[in-house]
């Protein structure tokens, strides 16, 4: 018998705030978190605009304990974990005697930390390299630092599957709880904004041109602007949550993953991967496309949007015509490995409110666009099951069904 997976808490940090209800409201109002980057020196960048978390200070959440060993990614994760733990009732006192784990999705860990470590060692000589920073060059550093900070002795894992990392972490954690291997797992994604990834995205031709507002599923689809954030859910064995009388916000009903070995270069193959991931998630959830009430996508304003829409439409069939669609990257930027975690936190709020934010800037749909209800305005859910979707240019696809909990 598979264990059921309850969502009992959430923590998020993004360009639009640190509170799920506030961010949900801002998204519904069509606000944008994209602005001129202040976090680092932007000389050399053509268009230094992104979804920065302005003025983020982990100390304001976590107290005055020494923060020096934690880089920005670790601070984002430690803070989001703090918010999710508090939100779920697993505060420091309640945690004693329970093994809570963490599954973090991230594309880079911190490429800034690694690059800075290397640069410093080259400039100053290897004997001046920082041992403290070296510990953070490993890609699982943020998960490790967060475990140390909060005393999380359960399974600690990191998933790095590019832009799908956050959603994949939730899928992985769901599997661990379903199989009974773990009862309590924080999971989601995180990514920091930094010069290193920014300039490389620019050089890879991924970023929106100078005068273009990136609009997911919009007319242009020339590129996106980068963002940052952390979004974590507290996932819990539903029986344990019921026993402790926890407030259950939602339930993860099923997850599906697939891979497109042509990595977006062949439309038919990409669509097939989407169908595969969505069908696996629906099958695990024990529902059909007609039970889906809205979809949350990873569309960003880039060229993959078209494939994502086609793949989802193929997987959902006729149902596509009645579904509200959102794409939070419109307002938060391309948050890479953080996106799935942020999507999930927003989705839980969408289920609570019964209304899903629209897609900022999406005023006109291309003719033949398979989701006629996609647009900039918020829309009511058609039913209380949300399909979260993420795909990346590396070929990864992931689908997760999250549902408003009905007592059982």
């Amino acid at each position: 018998m598979k264990g059921r997976v309850a969502v009992t808490g959430r923590g998020l940090l993004c360009a639009l705030g640190d509170d799920a209800a506030v961010v949900h409201q801002a998204l519904a109002e069509g606000k944008s978190g994209l602005r001129k980057v202040e976090l680092f020196e932007t000389v050399g960048l053509a268009r230094p605009v992104g979804g920065e978390i302005v003025g983020f200070d982990a100390k304001s959440y976590l107290g005055k304990k020494n923060m020096r060993p934690l880089d920005r990614t670790a601070r984002l994760v430690t803070t989001a974990a703090h918010l999710a733990l508090e939100d779920s009732g697993w505060n420091t006192e309640a945690r004693s005697g329970h093994e809570i784990g963490l599954v973090l999705g991230t594309m880079y860990g911190s490429v800034r930390t690694i690059a800075e470590f290397d640069r410093h060692a080259i400039v100053e000589g290897p004997s001046y390299a920082s041992p403290l920073d070296f510990a953070n060059t490993v890609i699982n550093a943020a998960a490790g630092q967060t475990a140390i900070w909060h005393g999380l002795r359960g399974i600690n894992s990191t998933i790095a599957t590019g832009q799908t990392s956050g959603l994949r972490a939730i899928a992985y954690a769901t599997g661990l709880i379903e199989s009974g291997r773990s009862d309590l797992l924080l999971s989601g994604g995180a990514e920091e904004l930094c010069f290193q990834s920014f300039i490389s995205l620019e050089r890879a031709g991924r970023l929106a041109g100078a005068d273009v507002e990136p609009v997911p599923f919009g007319m242009d689809r020339g590129g996106f602007l980068p963002g940052e954030g952390a979004g974590l859910l507290m996932l819990e064995n539903a029986e344990l949550a019921a026993r402790r009388g926890a407030r259950v916000l939602a339930e993860i009903l099923g997850c599906g993953v697939s891979f497109d070995p042509h990595r977006g270069q062949n439309e038919e193959q990409s669509v097939r991967a989407s169908v595969c991931a969505v069908r696996a998630a629906l099958s695990a959830a024990g529902i059909g496309p007609d039970a889906i009430g809205a979809i949350s996508t990873s569309a960003s304003g880039g060229p993959l949007d078209e494939l994502e829409a086609k793949g989802l439409a193929e997987a959902l069939g006729e149902r596509a015509r009645v579904l509200p669609v959102t794409a939070i990257k419109a307002s938060l930027g391309e948050t890479l490995g953080a996106d799935g975690g942020l999507q999930a936190v927003i989705a839980v709020e969408t289920l609570r409110k019964g209304e899903q934010p629209g897609i900022r800037g999406l005023h006109d749909l291309r003719s033949g666009f398979p989701f006629p209800l996609a647009g900039s305005k918020p829309r009511p859910l058609v039913s209380p099951n949300l399909l979260l979707y993420s795909m990346g240019w590396d070929g990864q696809h992931c689908a997760v069904v999250v549902s408003r909990t009905t007592e059982s």
Binding site: G44, G101, L102, M107, V111, I114, A115, F117, D118, R119, A121, I122, G125, S127, A129, P131, F134, A135, N136, T137, V138, I139, N140, A141, A143, G144, Q145, A147, I148, H150, L152, R153, N156, S157, T158, I159, A160, T161, G162, S165, G175, L176, R181, S197, I199, S200, L201, A204, R206, V257, S258, F259, D260, P261, H262, R272, A273, C276, D394, G395
Partner: protein, 408 residues
């Protein structure tokens, strides 16, 4: 009904040989792959040795993608995957691509791409910076490139849990096979030698000046290395049906987190012991049934003492009777590849009734008083082998392999 998971193919890229026969012969003969570092100049360092794979080239490796356009760790991984499929007698073109997945581990992904970035940056010419931190560096590109090279469309995962990553990746692959989400998984680890990793360990004072001497009283540290291992994992029923040679069965795994320190183990080996116990429980085995342990055995004073302590905590009176060896005495520490290479060693030990030595062992340490198979390989029938791995971030992972017996 949970499916049983078996190992049916092995693929390796190591400093002592990259086909199974050469590797196994060298390992049993106690041949070391450690030499003066060749890939960069170590004149500014106080140590100069490493376990590099000399003369590696991806030429001749069959692939659907251009292997000159992926990083070194990806090249290793694709070469190892190709060897493993061949060893298993599987033609990738004849598989159902949607049922074939990849699960990999790494410590650093493709750190040489960061080094290239640093070199460009320090030349002061930002326009020379390319897209590689996006296109080649993210560690998720390792399994993604493997799947693209082979045409695999099943679950594709990178678990970058540093030096225990190979075991995490195998555990993840087991879950996909046990649950029926895939019918074949390539599981392993890959890491390339880099100045970043070398600088960090040198700065921590962790690198041995002349040789790696795990468990010896006068051990002076670890030696960074590189390589890859990929295992072909299949459900036992399918493997039997196609008449595959079965090396061993993967019967259990255990994961835990110290939540204690980024780079130092828990002072009583608490997390390591929990991982071993959890793996035994998963496998339904008693400690007394384990008859070989492949140690993490890095050769640092602390690791080897604490690993011995934790083995004694778990195995009690049986501990001195179990042969324990550290392949790192010969290969150095191949980081994210290490536990995958060591899983291959466990599979070979079970299949061939021989256990490899821990070389460079001269003087007994009163704190390390177990049987480390000093200097000479030994005939020893192995029914159950445990593979231990520990990592930065306090991550611990133990994997258990067992001689395969059909039926049940």
């Amino acid at each position: 009904m949970t499916r049983r998971v078996v190992v049916t193919g092995l693929g390796l890229v190591t400093s002592i040989g990259s086909d199974v026969a050469t590797f196994w012969e060298a390992l049993l003969a106690g041949r070391s792959g450690i030499r003066p570092v060749g890939s960069f100049d170590t004149k500014d360092y106080s140590v100069h040795i490493g376990g590099e794979v000399m003369d590696f080239t991806p030429d001749g490796v069959e692939s659907r993608i251009d292997l000159t356009r992926v990083g070194r760790a990806s090249q290793f991984a694709i070469a190892a995957a190709t060897h493993a499929l061949k060893d298993a007698g599987i033609d990738p073109e004849r598989l159902d691509p949607t049922r074939a997945g990849v699960s990999m581990g790494t410590t650093s992904g493709e750190p040489r791409e960061v080094e290239t970035y640093t070199d460009m940056l320090l030349k002061g010419d930002l326009s020379a910076i390319g897209p590689e931190l996006v296109t080649r560096y993210p560690c998720g590109s390792i399994p993604a490139s493997m799947a693209a090279a082979l045409g695999f469309a099943g679950p594709n995962t990178m678990i970058p849990t540093a030096c225990a990553a190979g075991n995490y990746a195998a555990a993840n692959a087991m879950e996909y096979l046990r649950s029926g989400a895939a019918d074949l998984m390539l599981a392993g680890g890959s890491d390339s030698f880099s100045r970043i990793t070398y600088t960090g360990f040198a700065r921590l004072g962790a690198i041995a000046p002349e040789r790696c001497q795990p468990f010896d009283l006068n051990r002076k540290g670890m030696v960074p290395g590189e390589g890859a291992a990929v295992l072909v994992l299949e459900p036992a029923d399918l493997a039997e049906r196609r008449g595959a040679r079965i090396y061993a069965e993967l019967v259990g795994y255990g994961l835990s987190c110290d939540a204690h320190h980024m780079t130092a183990s828990h002072p009583e080996g608490e997390g390591a012991a929990r991982a071993m116990l959890s793996a035994l429980k998963d496998a339904g085995l008693a400690p007394g049934e384990v008859d070989y342990i492949s140690a993490h055995g890095t050769g640092t004073p602390t690791n080897d003492r604490l690993e011995t302590l934790s083995i004694k905590r778990v195995f009690g009176e049986a501990a001195p009777k179990i042969p324990i060896s550290s392949a790192k005495s010969m290969l150095g520490h191949t980081m994210g590849a290490a536990s995958a290479i060591e899983t291959a060693i466990c599979a070979l030990a079970i299949e061939r009734g021989r256990v490899p030595p821990t070389i460079n062992y001269e003087t007994k340490d009163p704190d390390c008083d177990l049987d480390y198979v000093p200097n000479h390989a030994r005939d020893h029938r192995v029914n159950v082998a445990m593979n231990n791995a520990y990592a930065f971030g306090g991550n611990n992972a133990s994997l258990i392999l067992k001689r395969y017996e059909g039926g049940r």
